[in-house]
């Protein structure tokens, strides 16, 4: 990885930049996709956004300074891109339509799906995915990506104390949600 960072830092010509993006995709494209899914909750949208994120990285490669690791830099671009998307007019219009559908109870839930839904893993995942974004993001980065709060702070540009508070609050919400699920 250091070699790659070295390459990114020095004056690079076009072919090298392309090679850097290739290697970044090789190493991180699935992780970035997971991160994006966590933000936008839709796999196809997430794939589109991930594509855009790597193109953005290519455009911004000149701006990469070695104050952070290439991974942190990539995650920050991804996180910002997702937040921009969630703020966009397009998303808010689409999501409103989808939300209306969520309020209409589905009749087609079959037994099998219900069984899966009861599994511990689904309960935990659903509970995390149901968190408001500011909690979901820190929970994912800390517990899934196993990043330190300092690293998360660099990615999200949110200060560490705020992150601590959010993580604490997120755990409280999760505890309630999961206990509720077991009581049912």
């Amino acid at each position: 990885m250091n070699e790659l960072e070295q390459l990114a830092k020095t004056d690079t010509f076009i072919n090298d930049r392309e090679a850097i993006i290739d290697q970044l995709m090789e190493e991180y494209s699935d992780s970035i996709l997971y991160l994006v899914i966590t933000y936008v909750k839709n796999q196809t949208t997430a794939e589109d956004l991930t594509q855009e994120i790597f193109i953005k990285c290519y455009e911004k490669l000149d701006q990469f300074k070695q104050q952070s690791s290439l991974k942190t830099w990539l995650y920050r671009i991804a996180s910002n891109h997702c937040k921009d998307y969630l703020r966009s007019w397009h998303y808010r219009k689409i999501s409103l339509n989808e939300k209306i559908w969520e309020y209409i109870p589905s009749k087609s839930t079959n037994v099998e799906e219900e069984v899966i839904a009861k599994s511990q893993e689904s309960n935990l995942t659903n509970a995390v995915m149901a968190l408001p974004i500011k909690y979901r993001e820190v929970v994912f980065l800390h517990y899934y990506e196993e990043l330190t709060l300092a690293e998360i702070s660099k990615i999200t540009t949110i200060n560490i104390n705020t992150l601590k508070t959010r993580l604490k609050r997120a755990k409280e919400i999760l505890k309630d949600t999961i206990e509720e699920a077991y009581d049912e």
Binding site: F13, I14, E18, I21, D22, M25, S29, D30, I32, L33, Y34, I37, Q43, A46, E47, T50, Q51, F54, I55, Y58, E59, Q120, E121, S122, L124, T125, V128, M129, V139, F140, Y143, Y144, E146, K171, L174, I178
Partner: protein, 144 residues
């Protein structure tokens, strides 16, 4: 249940991320988009010989764009024929990269080689292919 979040990674991998993967097709799409960007911004990729012909035409005296164009024509360098505007784009680029310098005399812009430009030309004449590549990459980079 001490901390259910310690299982988050395996839980998410087995559920929401189970089918998720950034496919090969998606990666190729990224690569293609990048290539397109390069071509789109470059407008025109100049041949090394064309660039060197321009530099050579300025070796002995400063010239205006029109005179450079005539000089290239005499040398059978026809890249800019019918598309003279591209010559000015190239001159501008070379100026930005510090290979050419320009001076306005009586409302006409005269181009001449900078010392950097002279060095490039000299190293080319030593038939060093390395410098040729450097020159081209420099231009590609400048046009991005």
């Amino acid at each position: 249940m001490s901390n259910p979040l310690s299982n988050l990674k395996s839980a998410m991998n087995k559920t929401i991320f189970k089918e998720a993967s950034f496919s090969k097709e998606r990666r190729i799409a990224v690569r293609e988009a990048i290539r397109e960007k390069q071509n789109g911004n470059q407008l025109h990729s100049w041949k090394e010989n064309t660039i060197l012909a321009v530099l050579e035409s300025l070796l002995h005296e400063p010239k205006q764009g029109y005179d450079i164009s005539t000089n290239l024509f005499q040398k059978q360098e026809l890249s800019f024929q019918g598309n003279e505007g591209q010559l000015y784009t190239l001159l501008h680029l070379l100026e930005n990269k510090g290979i050419l310098i320009s001076k306005w005399i009586e409302e006409k812009k005269y181009y001449s080689l900078s010392s950097k430009g002279k060095k490039f030309l000299a190293s080319y004449k030593e038939e060093s292919p390395k410098h040729l590549i450097t020159l081209k990459s420099l231009l590609e980079e400048a046009s991005l």
